[in-house]
């Protein structure tokens, strides 16, 4: 089963219809760049938080130094595809996301994708998310693995 992260609360009915096990809401289930028990942090702010509270690190550009720090931390890297989904400067956003993903996989990081949708118009179903992962150059098995485990809060508990 797949997971996603959004900025708004998605009700259970829609979550199931979209094919996700859980869609985590920033500000409710998890915190973004703020203190809490379950934190998603931007790669540059990794040092600000207690490592045990971090469940994933958001990255939207390639920075090998930061990537090696993420590798040391053992936390999954979460690739933000919200810019890709917005459709603005599509080719540029596609190349950026593909680059981040390729470098993260090369460095053997635990990778995941998330929509970080601000509203329902920027959400995608699990089927679509899987196809987007493949579109970014990942093989089917790896894509399923990426969307299944990356930031499952249950794993931390």
């Amino acid at each position: 089963m797949f997971y996603d992260i959004t900025y708004f609360n998605v009700d259970k009915g829609l979550t199931k219809l979209l094919g996700y096990k859980k869609i985590y809401c920033i500000g409710k289930d998890i915190a973004l760049n703020e203190d809490g028990d379950y934190i998603i942090t931007d790669a540059q702010q990794l040092h600000r938080f207690k490592l045990s509270n971090i469940i994933g690190i958001r990255a939207s550009k390639v920075d090998k130094e930061l990537f090696s720090k993420i590798k040391e931390s053992g936390k999954p890297i979460i690739i933000d595809i919200s810019n890709l989904l917005s459709g603005v400067e599509f080719i540029r956003e596609y190349n950026t996301a593909k680059n981040v993903l390729r470098n993260a996989i090369k460095m053997r990081l635990n990778v995941s994708l998330a929509s970080f949708a601000k509203d329902e118009a920027h959400l995608v179903s699990a089927l679509q998310m899987l196809e987007i992962a493949k579109f970014l150059g990942v093989e089917e098995d790896k894509a399923k693995e990426m969307l299944g485990n990356g930031y499952d809060i249950g794993q931390k508990e």
Partner: protein, 106 residues
């Protein structure tokens, strides 16, 4: 058209983020879709709007083997701020509706 050429089809259940009258906006929808898959892609997929089964649920017929490209392209399509989610695919309309009802119940 697909049937005349002897192509086999797959049916995809698509859900919109808001209620939308897709029947009267079909050309705009396919224009938006062709931005991502191109005219050749559109010819290969030969998408056909079958019917809507609710305010937000629609069934499309796609050439078999191309449904994944349709699902991917649909992720980027926005029609007047409305997004489209692909929920299920199936070989027949009947099983598609049955699977959808089961999914809704669970």
């Amino acid at each position: 058209m697909a049937m005349i050429l002897g192509r086999k089809s797959r049916y995809v259940l698509v859900m919109s983020s808001k209620p939308i009258e897709l029947g009267s906006n079909l050309s705009a929808f396919f224009d938006e879709l062709s931005k991502y898959i191109g005219l050749f892609g559109l010819a290969k997929l030969s998408p056909y709007f079958v019917k809507n089964i609710g305010e937000r649920e629609f069934i499309f017929r796609i050439a078999r083997g191309s449904e994944k490209e349709f699902i991917l392209a649909l992720s980027f399509v926005k029609l007047n701020g409305v997004a489209f989610y692909s929920i299920l695919t199936s070989g027949t309309i009947r099983s598609l509706i049955r699977k959808y009802n089961e999914k809704k119940k669970n």
